[in-house]
Symmetry: C2
Subunit: 243 residues, 2 copies
Amino acid sequence: MTFDLKDCGTCPIRHRAVCARCESDELEILESIKFYRSFEAGQPVIWSGDSMDFVASVVTGVASLSQAMEDGRTQMVGLLLPSDFLGRPGREFAPYDVVAVSNLTLCCFRRKPFEKMMLNTPHIAQRLLEMTLDELDAAREWMLILGRKTAREKIASLLTILARREASLALQTAQSGTSFELPLTREAMADYLGLTLETVSRQVSALKREGIVQLEGKRKIIIPDFDLLVAETGDDADGGVMV
Amino acid sequence: MTFDLKDCGTCPIRHRAVCARCESDELEILESIKFYRSFEAGQPVIWSGDSMDFVASVVTGVASLSQAMEDGRTQMVGLLLPSDFLGRPGREFAPYDVVAVSNLTLCCFRRKPFEKMMLNTPHIAQRLLEMTLDELDAAREWMLILGRKTAREKIASLLTILARREASLALQTAQSGTSFELPLTREAMADYLGLTLETVSRQVSALKREGIVQLEGKRKIIIPDFDLLVAETGDDADGGVMV
DNA sequence: CTGCTTTCTTGATCTGGGTCAAAGCGCAGA
DNA sequence: TCTGCGCTTTGACCCAGATCAAGAAAGCAG
C-alpha cells in the first residue's frame, strides 16, 4: 500500500515528508476537499441521526462514539484517537453520537467528492478496508471485555489498551515505567466498560492501593510494571488481538 | 456496485441468474479458485492462531466466531449467517475460534489468488468494505447489548435480531406471527449475550410464560406480536442500527 | 481568599444474575 | 422396549457490582 490515509490524508505536515506518492493527483484532490474543525472537550461533534456531509480523521485529541437508550443508559462503542477515521463513505446519517472527549481537531473531507475519488483510486478503498478491519478487531476485543470480564479486569484492560495506543503513537511498544495522561473522565471510562462511575473509581483505587498503578493527580497514570498490569486483564501474556 | 460477492461470489446457482457481469473475467477467476467445505453442527472450522489459507462466505447454516480466555470463559464475537463473509484478506492467522453452530456449508476461495484479484478489481474491495462496515455496526449494536442491557432485554434483542435476519433472507421484514428455528443452543445464546445458560433458560421461560413468545419444542420460536417483543429490547421502536 | 461547580472517592445497602445442585426431556442406539 | 447422554429447566443460595447518599478535592470566577 503506497498510499496511506494516515500519513497522506490526515496531516499535511507528515505526508510531505513520508509518502512517495504525495505529488499525485489523489493528493491534490484530497487537499482541495479538505478542511479542519476543532472542538472543545465535552462538545458534541454530531448527534445520532444528523446528516453528515463529511468524513474525517482525528489529528489531535480524543473523540467517542456512543449509543444511548432512551431511558438514558449509554454505551460507548468507539474511541477515536489520533489517526483514527470517522464516518462512513456512502452513508448520509450518523448512526452514533460523536463527542469530543478532550480538545479535538479533525481533518475533514467533504463526503461526496471523497466517495467519488474512492471509486477511481482503489488504494483508498483498500486502505479504508484495512482500517475498518482493525476497528472490527478492536470492537471484538471490546466485546470480550464487556461480556466476560470482571470490573477489575475491565479497568486493567482499558489502561493496557490506552498505554499501548499511547506508546504506538510514539512508535514504541508499551513498557514498564511508562506514564500517560488519562484522556477520559471516570464517567467516560464507565461508559466504555459497561460499569458505573463508582465502580470505576473503586477499582482504580484498588489497583492504586495494591501498587499496580500509581496516580499523579486524578488523571496521570504511571505503570511501574507493565506485566503486572497485563496479568490483571485476564488475557494471556502476549495480549491483545494478534496481527 | 455491479459486482456483488453475495450474489456472484458465493453461490454458483444464484449468480448466473442475478448478475449482469457474470460472464466477466473476475467471475472466471473466482470460479477457478473456489471450493466448498461442509461441517457438522459443533465441528470446529478453525482455531484461533491457525494459519488460514482461504476466505469464504457462508452458503447455508450458522457459524460463530468466539474468543476464549485461558480460564475457559468465552465470548462469542460474531455470528455468521448465510451470505456473511469469513476471513480477512491480508491476514495469515485466524484471530478467533470459528465453530459450526449448525450444519454448515462454506464457499471458499484460496486466499492468495483472492488477494491478487482484489488488487485488480476495485469492486471487490469496495463491496468488502461495505460488508465490513455493516459488520462493524452489528458489533457496536452488540456492544450496547453486552454493556448495558438486562438479561431479559438481551434475550429479547437476540430474538429480534435473529427474526430480522431470518426474514431478510426471505426478502421480507420481520412481522407479527413469524416463526423461526433457533439455530443456537442455550449455551451458545449465553456465549453470545455474556450470560450463563441458566439465566438464558430462565429468561426464555419468563418470556414464554408472559406470552411474548411461544415455543414449539425447545428450538422453534413463534412471535405472536413483534412489537411486543421489540418493546422488551429496550431499544426505541424503529429499532436496530439505521442505514 | 471565598464560594461555587465539577469531578472524584468512599461508605452502606440492595439486587440481578452467577453458582451449585438436582431433576426433566427427548432422541439415538441396542 | 429400555438405557444413556446431551440439552434444558428449575430451585436455593450467594456475591459482584449497582444504587443511594455523603463528603472530599480540585478548578475557577469573582
